[in-house]
């Protein structure tokens, strides 16, 4: 069982490595979106410090949404997904492997990059660390919940816009808790309850979404 997850993760990481330009583009998109904001609202440091967590999180949501179509579309087009659906191993495990690989090539780089952005927005050491920690806990939820949307919209016309419409409302709790944790630090309160709740959400999503994704994939591939 673990072997299957490992095999799927290994395969997807190898593919991501061979198509590394795509992976880099997602990260670049994240950074560019964040960079646009000071250009739009002005360079006043206090204002930027106040909105930085929200901006970084919204950009992280958008980057996650944009990368979602990579999750199943290629496997669907070349027939690999059919092989996954008739595997002797449980489908939720394979889904888990694919989502883990997706997180490793999108959520993890975004998390790492947030440290640099925290410095650019002059957040201070503690707030920057909190931002990174919140992203580390929250981005897996983005991948997991996003996978449901990606599986439901597989092969539909206008799938990219549709998936944002389906998934973004479901991202609301992660956005609130994630951005809230950094603001709590800035306000002198502890970030611990936010991070704990984010962790709880991540566990909850980890347990439930692979089943929802599996059901959605079976429906979409039919």
């Amino acid at each position: 069982m673990i072997g299957t997850v490992a095999a799927v993760v290994r395969r997807d990481l190898l593919l991501a490595f061979r198509q590394r330009a795509d992976v880099a583009n997602t990260l670049l998109f994240f950074v560019v979106v964040v960079t646009m904001v000071p250009l739009g609202v002005g360079a006043e440091p206090n204002l930027l410090r106040a909105i930085a967590p929200g901006v970084v999180w919204v950009a992280a949501l958008l980057a996650a949404i944009l990368s979602l179509n990579r999750l199943f579309a290629a496997d669907f087009a070349d027939g690999t997904l059919e092989q996954m659906l008739i595997s002797a191993e449980p489908l939720p495990l394979i889904v888990l492997g694919k989502t883990a690989a997706h997180w490793l090539v999108t959520g993890l780089p975004v998390t790492a990059m947030s440290v640099v952005l925290g410095v650019m927005f002059d957040l201070g050491a503690e707030a920057t660390a909190t931002l990174a920690a919140a992203l580390a806990l929250g981005t897996p939820v983005l991948s997991l919940v996003g996978a449901v949307g990606a599986a439901l919209t597989l092969g539909l016309r206008g799938g990219g816009v549709l998936v944002s419409l389906l998934v973004l409302p479901l991202y609301v709790p992660v956005l609130i808790l994630g951005a809230g944790s950094v603001e709590a630090v800035a306000a002198g309160l502890g970030a611990a309850p936010y991070l704990l709740l984010l962790g709880a959400l991540a566990l909850f999503a980890l347990v439930l979404t692979p089943w929802a994704v599996s059901a959605a994939l079976r429906i979409s591939v039919e």
Binding site: V145, V148, L152, T153, L156, R157, G158, G159, L162, L165, L166, L168, P169, L170, V172, P173, I176, L177, G180, E183, A184, L201, L208, T209, A212, A215, A216, I219, S220, E222
Partner: protein, 225 residues
């Protein structure tokens, strides 16, 4: 059943509006404008309740593979979205004289808005899928994922709201409510109920006719079709 529900909806609505506008006393602090409550609160109740009903039928459809329950779910969605929209719209109109602004980023308003997005997402997904069987099942999965999320969204929005105390306006109503006010509201809620049942049944009938237009029993019913 449809004409009965429709008639009941009209009658209850008339009674509710009568009680609401002519019988119920004028509110001490808000004056006459509070009377929007008779539209607003029942609509808000229905918007949330209908999403639960939708998810229930979707779940039944997915578990038992019954086509009728999936059709019920798709028939409920537009009514739910209308209720959500009415709740938001009447809330905005109510907010203007009461708080001096059409919109505040209050926890209830914001989660109601997100609920509207969930309804739109459900309808958009079903509209994007050509095969009705796939549309039913995909919509059902989405509705179930959504219904698990609704309480999480609600509590997170509430929490977000307490963090941003600056903009918050307390929505809690006058502590004691005159009995006639309550009566008017309950009458209106029942009216909205009946409306929802009637409209949903009309819509589900249309869906059945559309989907089964090739089958024999419909051809017998309407040989010209």
């Amino acid at each position: 059943m449809i004409p009965w529900c429709a008639a009941a909806a009209i009658a209850l609505c008339a009674a509710g509006l009568y009680v609401g506008f002519f019988v119920a006393p004028t509110d001490a602090t808000q004056g006459e404008s509070y009377r929007i409550i008779f539209i607003h609160v029942p609509a808000a109740w229905m918007s949330m309740f209908l999403y639960l009903v939708l998810a229930f039928w979707a779940g039944v459809g997915l578990a038992l593979n019954t086509r009728l329950s999936a059709m019920m779910a798709s028939a409920i969605a537009p009514t739910g979205a209308v209720m959500t929209f009415v709740a938001l719209w009447s809330g905005a109109l109510w907010g203007r004289p009461t708080w001096g602004t059409y919109w505040v980023w209050d926890a209830r308003l914001t989660s109601e808005l997100i609920l509207l997005f969930l309804y739109f997402g459900f309808m958009a997904l079903q509209a994007a899928i050509d095969d009705p069987r796939r549309a039913d099942k995909a919509g059902a999965v989405l509705a179930l994922v959504g219904v698990v999320n609704v309480p999480i969204i609600y509590f997170s929005v509430k929490w977000w709201n307490t963090l941003h105390q600056g903009a918050s306006v307390s929505l809690t109503k006058a502590p004691t409510m005159a009995a006639t006010m309550l009566a008017g509201m309950i009458l209106m809620a029942l009216a909205f109920w009946m409306y929802a049942v009637a409209v949903t049944l009309v819509r589900v009938r249309a869906i059945i006719l559309e989907r089964e237009r090739r089958s024999d029993w419909i051809k017998e019913l309407a040989p010209g079709a």
